[in-house]
Symmetry: C2
Subunit: 388 residues, 2 copies
């Protein structure tokens, strides 16, 4: 096991009915809040109304700001920072999925910083202060509800970069599985893909070859997420499946799977960020394309862990190590396809001819993330595996 | 999955060399600290010296207080509370295993409370304030380094009770596996037994029958702890095994295995507390006696989960459900014996004739813990299974 620091102070309130606790849980952090949400589904399904009732019940007032889009953008963050300051608010209540929560974190850091908030994303400044955030999660997948990271796209440059900071962990996150009942099937599935790839990044990129508890935790998360996604695909209001997906997706990126792995990077996310920065594609859909392609590339270099994955996740015992490794990757790819996720660039209407410019975009992030082995050539060779 | 709140703000610094960070990590919490430790092994092995150097390097001064004994007692806590107040200290640095950390928590709560600290243990008062604690762990097992609970014995009444509070989570815990290299073999094994029984309490007492991720996490912890203990038994300075045992024992009681289980009690601990309150026996040794006995009792009522345990931990596939369940319990009992842990009362020199008075002692705790089903008769019937 490699040395690590683990710190995760987010308080999780999990279960049916917990949305009503939002006001009470937010009150210690502020009396005047920015109430942030996305494209308005939370109005239709009544979740926003429940949150407002809960805030009003404890005397919290709010400024409402909807309109966060999937693959959230910097211009929105900057507008919201100004608004937050003008209104002299104290905290943020984020009602939504990863896009809304990530936007909340960028705002929270930005309002405490005199410079350009993008400085945090390109490594020019570190986040040392932020206003408090509480979240009401409405989509299981990103894990942003229990970590200190956020991903935002700068539209002009098509840079999809991230920031992180200990002060950005939400103070409280409310995880009510019933709040995900009305998520469209395809987005529920993309959430599952995202959570799966989060733990696969830790699993395959660990610098330590012997991680018995981390491996077992990750394998347990994979099995449980896959079982839950299969049920949700058919029965979107299956409480237990929604609950399992929600809690597993949270655990998948809360620092626990990577604790001790000496993890060296998130190459599948590195490459996917370029897809969803440059094209109109969900992050989870992009990952369903990139992950098997990256795995085929990485398996050629070090097949052992991929063979373990094949055995423990798909029960593949037959053949030589590399055959088993490849069969496991194909089984995952097939499983993504059964969720109706795209697994090739063409399925997402991304032309193979664009591969060089996608690679160039991803290469810029590889520099920011200090992953020099991901040259344009390497990234292109990975993307080509997703092109045919 | 049952509704739950998960909150664990302890920062973990894990790995070789981390003891030197103690001063820096403690500084935000106080400049004058109580430096608490046990029977003096930390002097001999040099850990206390390292901690002192680290505190001195950042200008923290300390009042040294050694002498915490295994199965720590209330009289020591009360003396330390007085000392802490007299010396006008600000924080506690606990260097040791669960006994030292539990004592630190009782002191931390006691110095902020005008009444008798025992009020917290018998349910007369709730812990709402405490001075900050940092810990340097020297024995893997209790998990106290990453939770808000503590167990203390009141000598006069032989009551081994617990307190808990959100404010009692250590601010920082330093987990350096090399700090456990010199723990005597038997105590290392008792630590492993303690961690195993912590997760078994969650596994067998969950009120929810469908807990896929909790079960898989617990099974992963069980396999990893058992593998590590076997290695440590032969090779006490095996870094990886010490690291795995240490991190798994921490995870075993940090709230994660019980999150969502709707857990109804810790009956094996309930009964063991009476053994180590009344006799000179290690908590882990007491658990090795009580756990199989309790499992034999509980399996008669609801064998399903015990059969699952038998299959997933010991690979027992043969026979009817109850036969498999019993074979799994016997396999665990046998495994405890191979660690040279006692598995019968007689092996710990506890006469079978004492069973009624042990049951009476445990019954008092069952009332405090609100577990009315654990009558004297039930507890006696369980203990009798450990008597032959």
């Amino acid at each position: 096991m490699q040395n690590f620091t683990f710190y995760n102070p987010t308080k999780i309130l999990f279960g049916q009915g917990k949305t009503a606790c939002c006001g009470e849980m937010t009150l210690p952090w502020g009396k005047r809040v920015l109430l942030l949400y996305g494209q308005g589904s939370v109005k239709k399904n009544g979740i926003l109304g429940q949150v407002k009732n809960s805030l009003a019940a404890v005397g919290i007032t709010w400024v409402e700001l909807g309109g966060v889009r999937p693959n959230p953008v910097l211009s929105f963050v900057n507008t919201a920072i100004q608004r937050f300051r003008q209104e002299q608010l104290e905290a943020i209540v984020a009602v939504g999925g990863g896009s809304v929560i990530d936007t909340a974190k960028a705002i929270a850091a930005g309002v405490c910083y005199a410079g350009d908030v993008w400085d945090f994303f390109c490594g020019k400044a570190e986040v040392t202060a932020a206003v408090p955030i509480t979240t009401v999660l409405t989509l299981a997948g990103t894990g942003s509800e229990m970590n200190g990271g956020a991903v935002i796209t700068k539209e002009e440059t098509q840079e999809k970069y991230n920031l992180r900071g200990e002060v950005l962990y939400p103070k409280v996150s409310i995880l009510d599985p019933t709040n995900t009942f009305t998520v469209p099937r395809q987005h529920s599935m993309y959430g599952a893909v995202d959570a799966i790839v989060h733990v696969l990044e830790a699993y395959f990129n660990a610098s330590d070859p012997h991680l018995p508890i981390q491996d077992r935790l990750i394998e347990g998360l994979l099995h449980t997420i896959m079982e839950a996604a299969k049920i949700i695909f058919e029965q979107p209001e299956h409480y237990e499946a929604r609950a399992n997906l929600m809690w597993c997706a949270t655990l998948a990126l809360n620092g626990l799977p990577t604790a001790g792995t000496g993890n060296t990077g998130f190459p599948m996310h590195l490459i996917e960020h370029s897809l969803s920065a440059m094209y109109d594609i969900s992050h989870g859909a992009g990952l369903a394309i990139v992950a098997p392609a990256w795995m085929k590339y990485a398996e050629e270099i070090a097949p052992r862990k991929f063979a373990q994955f094949a055995q423990r996740i798909f029960g593949i015992d037959e053949g030589k190590e590399r055959e088993r490794a490849l069969a496991g990757i194909q089984a995952l790819e097939h499983w993504f396809a059964t969720l109706q996720a795209p697994i090739r660039l063409a399925e997402a209407n991304i032309p193979a001819a664009d591969i060089p410019k996608i690679a160039e975009n991803a290469r810029r992030l590889a520099v920011v993330w200090d992953m020099p082995e991901y040259t344009c050539e390497v990234i292109e060779s990975i993307l080509k595996r997703a092109g045919t």
